[in-house]
Symmetry: D2
Subunit: 387 residues, 4 copies
């Protein structure tokens, strides 16, 4: 019998990203929020739950309580999966507990603070036979899917060069002025896992480049900096990278690029054509040809000049912009589709398919962070990215 899928939530009582998870989950009318622990403070969790119109007995004080009590609810009530939207250092333990308790998982990125933890999570997912979606939301944008489809179909020819960048400027503005009073876990070496800029946004650039091209980054040469000096973790990262097909590239991430917001941009050049995508204008893909005019492709559910995966990822006709929340929702939707195939058709996680980032992508992300940090400390030019 078809029904809405039931989501529980960890975190998201403050900050904006938890709310984005809820909006994304709600958008396509496939998922309902049924329970959660919204804060480590029980009172705050209860308040948040009430604001969300949840019954008080499905708002929990701790993750342990939630997993224990949800696990014993009737099949027709129990949450199907949990969305984890908490600081990085909590991802691994909560996800492991959720898998242990038999729940499917959607998890924020980076999924852990060490390669070792990430490896444990990969094993746990496979052992539990559950679905795991890593929230690399930029890969949910329709025109990123168009880029990927074109790359995989050979329309770019042999890919030779990839330039991916994610400049932000927030640390150069009010953050810097506020000085040492800034107390976010993102700049705490312990809680953030030894990396700020690379872990927070460099991993987005890494995943976007690999997703859109179908290639893997094999080697890194990194130059990290810490310009805002009342903290110790890097706020700027410049890297040369090499790909498994011989392509060369540049990857950079920055939190001190004054005046930039979320200017993640991807350029890929192949022997047949080049492409360019910019997150702040997400509904267009520029296609560059050798000896004829460049083309501006436009997202749109009915655009016959787009690949099928792209059209499927659009909700409305071209010219009506979709944005960040819809991209986010595309990951939820793909995950939900797979989960239905598991729950309704008895598919295995592999059979269930779905176009969303997996736990293995999370491991690749952690390996990338480690390689970047190692490279920075090294005098040798190239450091391999080893999973």
């Amino acid at each position: 019998m078809r029904r809405k899928l039931r989501m529980g939530m960890v975190g998201g009582g403050g900050g904006f990203i938890g709310r984005v998870h809820r909006m994304a989950a709600a958008l396509d009318n496939e998922i309902e929020l049924v329970c959660g622990v919204f804060s480590s403070l029980p009172e705050r969790s209860a308040e948040a739950g009430a604001e969300l119109f949840l019954p008080a007995d499905r708002v929990y004080s701790s993750v342990e309580e939630m997993f224990r009590r949800e696990a014993v609810l009737a099949a027709g009530e129990r949450m199907d999966f949990v969305s984890i939207a908490v600081p990085n250092y909590l991802h691994a333990s909560i996800a492991l507990a959720a898998l242990e308790a038999g729940f499917h998982v959607i998890c924020e990125k980076p999924m852990a603070t060490s390669v070792a933890d990430a490896r444990r999570m990969v094993e746990a997912v496979h052992r539990a036979g559950r679905l795991f979606c890593l929230m690399h939301n930029y890969s949910g944008y329709p025109m990123v899917k168009e880029a990927r489809s074109r790359a995989l179909a050979g329309e770019l020819g042999q890919i030779r060069k990839v330039v991916v960048e994610y400049p932000q400027g927030w640390m150069a503005g009010r953050f810097a002025s506020a000085g040492v009073k800034n107390r976010t876990w993102k700049i705490d070496p312990e809680l953030a896992g030894g990396s700020c800029c690379v872990a927070d946004i460099g991993t987005h650039a890494h995943q976007l480049a690999e997703y859109a091209t179908g290639l893997r980054i094999t080697d890194v040469c990194a130059d990290l900096s810490c310009f805002i000096d009342f903290k110790s973790l890097e706020d700027d990262a410049n890297m040369l990278v090499r790909f498994d097909n011989g392509a060369r590239g540049i990857l950079y991430a920055s939190q001190i690029s004054t005046g930039e917001a979320n200017a993640i941009r991807l350029r890929v050049y192949g022997s047949k054509s080049g492409i360019e995508w910019f997150q702040e204008d997400p509904n267009h893909l520029v296609v560059k040809w050798p000896d004829r005019p460049r083309e501006i492709l436009k997202a749109g559910a009915g655009n016959i000049d787009l690949h099928e995966a792209t059209r499927k990822a659009c909700r409305i006709p071209h010219g009506h912009p979709e944005g960040f929340i819809e991209a986010f929702a595309n990951l939820y939707r793909e995950f939900a589709g797979a989960l239905r195939r598991v729950l309704e058709d008895g598919a295995s996680p592999v059979e269930a398919g779905g176009d969303y980032p997996r736990v293995e992508d999370g491991l690749r992300g952690l390996a990338f962070i480690r390689a970047a940090l190692d490279s920075h400390r090294s005098d040798v030019k190239w450091t391999p990215v080893e999973v």
Copy 2:
């Protein structure tokens, strides 16, 4: 006791706009869809309701049935308001019936096919003491609200010139090729209310210009054309307009502007500054100054350089694009806020406030359509827009 608001729906079983209504209503977790009649074909309505996970007894075969049966449900179950997303010629009768039955109403635009019907709706809304929201979604975009706030605060100085345009190209593409087989109610003189291009998108341009400036269009000089000739209603409309403060302007709408999607754009020039907004890049507002550099304002919940109404209309920080669905949802959210003040605090419709288009705006739209049609048929230069 706080609870989700309960929405019923008329239409939306096919086409994309019904789905946009549902996504917009769901986005902010304030509204739940509880019932509907999704098609004039009972079987199709039932199917659509099932796909939406509605219980069979809340999916109706006709509008009459829905209003009759919902009206007698217990207060804790009954729908609070109805969303009407059907062809133009049905808006008036359904909205009147809903008001008669005591429900609040959200209605697609144009809200009727004649000025006379529109006047009846204005009266009915006031008689019923219910809320009525006209779905002029473009006024839901945050940067349109920024434009309005700046205009009302005098930051543009005396407004002198307004250029608003809405070019689309769909009629020049596959539509034209398909020829007389095209059977949409939009080109049927009877069902569309005697106007195609002006009624469908010219009214958006009209409402956008008036909303963003706080001015009223008083006179129109229109040149309408019908280029795709297997039909009879206009597919292109060029107009000179005059405003109640003495400002002059241009308003045009077109369905034969080959290669355009939903390129609605607004430019306003005042004695102190000018502004420009473009729907296909909705998160920016260009501000033009006489003797200093132009500025690019960016939407974002936390941007201190924006007016409060703008920030309130943003869900996420700057640099993460919001789009059409979020703009739509802003109207739902403002309507929902007003409805809560009515239901929870006993506010009157006037006291309830809320930043969403009213039934009077719908009447103004119909008057504008009539003036455009009249002007086209006249040899006299100016035709007044009379409500």
Copy 3:
């Protein structure tokens, strides 16, 4: 025997446009400045001539003196043509005198201040058998030529709609602040010929639209305004226009569009494709298709995707921008080519050919100004443009 063509100049001792004429004439090494009267003040003229390294005996105190004395110089010394860059009200008399004296003419626009004078100039050009180039420089841009080539080759299909606009903002800035102290001939009803905004920049929009499409504007419906009120001529002009093939359009020009510089923009929509060109980004032409991605064409001498006339109008490879001076120089170059054919091959003016605006285009411009003024004063919707 091949030699450089010899140019004389009237005006250009102050202001920027005279200097643009000289730069444009010099750019392609085909023309040398040999004499001139650069100011109505003999002393100022002499100074300007010295700054230009001209021998003192070729710098004149009056137009009469220049034409008289140049006419009797030896064939190997005498100027071949004169460039006229003075206020509008002087164009006709100087051009008529130059033709009378046997010189070819390049003249700024609008070429006269009345239709009657313009007619006299047409007759004089034909009677004299001399070349006459009207400096409508925007038609010199390569991508405007691409637009024209595509239109004439039928690549746009049947042209249905033309939107051409020329917003400037200078009157809303320091000009307005300076108030009545502003004493430019452009706002003097007598000297400007009864029109400011239409004569000064509306004629550019008019000529651009006709040149790029190959069509003629037959009817105008104009709404003119004067917002800056210490003067009397119009500073804003909104018009509906109709073309000789049945196409409809909008033409507007404005000097009070705060914050705009020289934002002349052309959009043409045909049954097969649409095009868009913007003077402030002149090296691109956007081509819009019904059901495939839009294309961005780029100017460049070697671009095989451009028409021949476009490539010929480019001096350098694509990606290296050319600008206003080069567009200007393209008119000089085309004029110079024709003049060589006259001087070296004995071609008649008609046989000499050349892609530059003629005296007849100037007459059309004056007729357009008159029709706009007449229309504004009339209550009837349409006023014909009669040459």
Copy 4:
């Protein structure tokens, strides 16, 4: 007595860059071309000279002949300076011969094919007491000067990050298809000086970054590639760079970035603001602020919001685009101004001043090429740039 400066030319009989030199030199009416050797083939040189309207006795068959015969002409006839626009491997010997013969020099970049030759040129310039202008034309653009003025005035605060890129795509198009038949000196290891992409366009990026910021690149980490494999020199170069003030950066140049033309772009981020400039839209400079809207500065001779050096580099009012040739001409103009101060006022080269690249900048460019090549061959991360 004031007169035009007299220019001789070496090269420029074919290709486009020689013609650009002539157009740039002619633009401001300060310089006249008086002689040249336009090709290594005497017949072709004579033809080119005739096409340029030069007297036959000032068109030479060899550089030696030109320098020898011009040197003995009367002071009122003799060329003042020579412009060298030939393949890289000829720059040094010709420039040295010109200096030896007492002529001032304008030279294309890179000015030599080895650091040793570049050092010899530096010495020769100082020994000869002559002016030497290296044609790094991108530093001639007005908005690049605005960037520099803002950087030097401290308006960016402490500069932290510089991203400069120069992607071209020509080698991925017809060049690649033509295969081994491609015989340009640029890909000949001997003639090009051991580097193709870095020498040809990487040096432009290097000079632009240093000019616009006032900083010096001290260390390089380079990854060079050769994708088009019928040749041996690099066609793609990715580099991490470090600056003398502690700023970090990325510099890349590419000839295989399919579909790119001359997309040289500079982004600089400081503690107070960031700037962005793009050569294919050269008349704008984007200024990015921490907590207020970004600004779009526009080139224009009269724009009071620009620094003086910027305004001086503009020939016309804002909104009328200037381009590549005008930027080129700005270097000629600055050189001409300095030369006048030498010739007319007896100023020394140092006293003569002028805003144009010097011979020392050329030496820095060669040192940069060598460091990039050395770095690529090294396993150590950082290679110093040593002059």
